[in-house]
Symmetry: C2
Subunit: 228 residues, 2 copies
DNA sequence: CCTACCGATCGGTAGG
DNA sequence: CCTACCGATCGGTAGG
């Protein structure tokens, strides 16, 4: 239908971009639901009203669709988190909005991209992984910076007997906190039931578990500190 | 080779049990490495020195192999955790051994079963899921009991302004702590490099992040408590 | 547990 | 983007 001379690397029509976006969105939904391997290209084509071979007009192969889903998730997520952080009035609010935003990214309807990244990372070819990691590093850096501030302020985690400057400690805190939150993709499910814990409640409980209301005066450490 | 009249539901020879165990072990290794879907029955057969059709002498289908892998993991894990808890001299030691043991279960060589459960849960048919969940509930109960004690003692998490009796709080704490630990399957990798963080160090850092050395006197809550 | 095999599915392509 | 199709792979089975 598009009569433009599309040489694939040249410009794409807005119409083509739309179709491509539809494929990415529906693929994310299907991957999240059944997994990358269990989703066939035929499933994806059917979800956007195409015939089985047509997705390959937009993507070289199935793996490129997966890569596109993950990139979309990281870009959307980065923007959402950056915006949220910019509006937070305090350090405590930064953490709260970080957690709440991440839960939205993971669990909002139509936002299945990052869950797919978490679930189907193994299915991504090694070459593609490198490209995605580069974007993911920027995403993680937003977390890292905020968590470092929280550690320095002495309001994150159960103790203050760590060196708040130590990158290793900040990184460990990030991996544990993000791990706890990201792992909710395996057990949390939104439900429109009155008594059910919604994303606000989930975020509030998470924040309360990880963040102190008031800074602690450092307690004498009972565990030996390895060196230095 | 086995000349016994094996009617499949009747008794199995020790030799058959051995072969079955070998299939489970090698399947776990392959599933962990490549994922359930990406592992073929031919891969599994080759790993134990069988021909492609022979695993079906021991298992009705591929999904039953997955189920067996998960069951094996839960049984082994339950025993390891139960034993470890029984030997812990104090409440603090209980948490430390719980965390360290879980890391062993997730990352020890030859202990890929639970990682497969975490990674490939989606691939398990619904009927099988129910059976596995029954065993998993007992496993989680060991954690739940210990975490409840820790919350009551006021040494777990960043705050004490929760009701230590509230089951919902204990459950949330368990999901967050186990989530953080279980999520390490996505980023932690054992390496025999001198400077590399080993499982002991990983456990120590985790414990230090989640557990206070000394109980806190309850701080006045700044967040509104929803009801009651 | 092997041999020999099948039916179905699936990613991907040629040619318009 | 459709039509028509292919080559390969894969889970699973019959029959010994």
């Amino acid at each position: 239908m598009p009569d433009s001379t599309h040489t694939k690397t040249a410009q794409v029509t807005p119409e083509e971009a739309n179709r491509r976006q539809a494929l990415i969105r529906q693929s994310a939904r299907l991957f999240r639901e059944k997994g990358y391997d269990a989703t066939t290209v035929r499933d994806i084509a059917a979800a956007v009203g195409m015939r089985s071979g047509s997705p390959f007009y937009h993507f070289k192969n199935k793996q490129e669709i997966l890569k596109a889903v993950m990139e979309e998730g990281l870009h959307q997520g980065f923007e959402r988190i950056e915006t949220a952080l910019a509006q937070a009035p305090s350090l405590q609010a930064k953490f709260q909005t970080l957690v709440r935003t991440q839960y939205g990214i993971l669990h909002d309807e139509g936002s299945e991209f990052i869950a797919v990244l978490l679930y189907d990372w193994r299915s991504l070819p090694a070459e593609y992984k490198q490209e995605i990691i580069r974007v993911k590093d920027r995403y993680d850096a937003l977390w890292q910076a905020t968590l470092q501030e929280l550690l320095q302020a002495g309001v994150l985690g159960a103790n203050t007997d760590h060196d708040p400057e130590a990158v290793a400690d900040v990184k460990m805190a990030r991996l544990l906190v993000m791990g706890a939150i990201n792992f909710t993709v395996t057990w949390y499910k939104q439900q429109p039931v009155p008594g059910h814990m919604d994303l606000d409640a989930l975020a509030e409980r998470t924040v309360r578990f990880f963040m102190r209301q008031h800074p602690l005066t450092p307690t004498p450490s009972k565990l030996g500190t390895p060196k230095g």
